[in-house]
Symmetry: C2
Subunit: 153 residues, 2 copies
């Protein structure tokens, strides 16, 4: 996997972690690079498997710890769309997630008028840090899995 010469200066991550009082470690950097190198929505387990390819000694507990750290310092988003495993998304541009209830795949989508953090008024009761928008439905024709399933049905 091409996780070696990524444009992650390390300084960037280091600073983001430091801002939250978290330490920069090679494991966290590695997990981050794994996420950046393949921009889908892997589960912790999938991240673990990918991370092991170039860093075989990494442990599952560390993957969870690293993912938590990355989410906490705002360089990765945790995506929860269903009862299954949480997924992780390194696309920090403003976007929503579409989850197909038939095939289970998750896609990044841009919404024209999605609420933004500065715009959210929750009457002083809550301090909003992030907004997660998940769409549910079916991906019609977009993916071959759904096509197949409909062909069967």
């Amino acid at each position: 996997m091409a996780t070696d010469h990524l444009p992650v200066s390390g300084d960037f991550l280091n600073q983001r972690l430091a801002e939250k009082g978290l330490r920069f470690t090679s494991q966290r950097q590695h997990v981050y690079e794994v996420l950046l190198s393949q921009r889908d929505h892997p589960s912790a387990d999938e991240v673990f498997m990918r991370a092991k390819q170039s860093k075989p000694e990494i442990s599952m507990a560390t993957v969870y710890n690293s993912l938590d750290a990355l989410v906490k310092c705002g360089v990765v988003r945790q995506v929860n769309v269903d009862r299954g495993a949480s997924m992780y998304c390194s696309n920090m541009n403003e976007h929503a997630h579409f989850c197909c209830d038939d095939c289970g795949k998750v896609f990044d989508v841009n919404l024209k008028d999605s609420p933004r953090v500065p715009e959210v008024d929750v009457s002083g009761k809550f301090e909003v840090r992030q907004i997660d928008i998940a769409l549910h439905g079916r991906c019609t024709g977009t993916c071959e899995d759904c096509g197949r399933r409909e062909a069967h049905a």
Copy 2:
């Protein structure tokens, strides 16, 4: 628990289930009434425990099955905000969920400008059935747990 004389005519649920080709059963009705009778955000396990109080023979598998059926026919929403257990919400009015990252509690909130299904344009690739909006942050002062935690810190 006052799950006996609720304004759930049964017909309503029956019809919604039938529309999706699902059968009306006493278990599904009971689970639905459990959710309606206490409008918080219980996990499947919590629903199970509440349901058992007045219907001790109900099983966990049936609770999951019933929750799935209720979600599928659109009378209950599944709420996924974190890695933990999914939660279930019988408030079908348009609203978002605020999840406090400190105490973990989930609150219903109304957003002024949240996207609605008819308004979502995803370029014909997706058929959107539902939009779930989850806010993350901290509930400042709203709940005693957070107050306590801050007092300690």
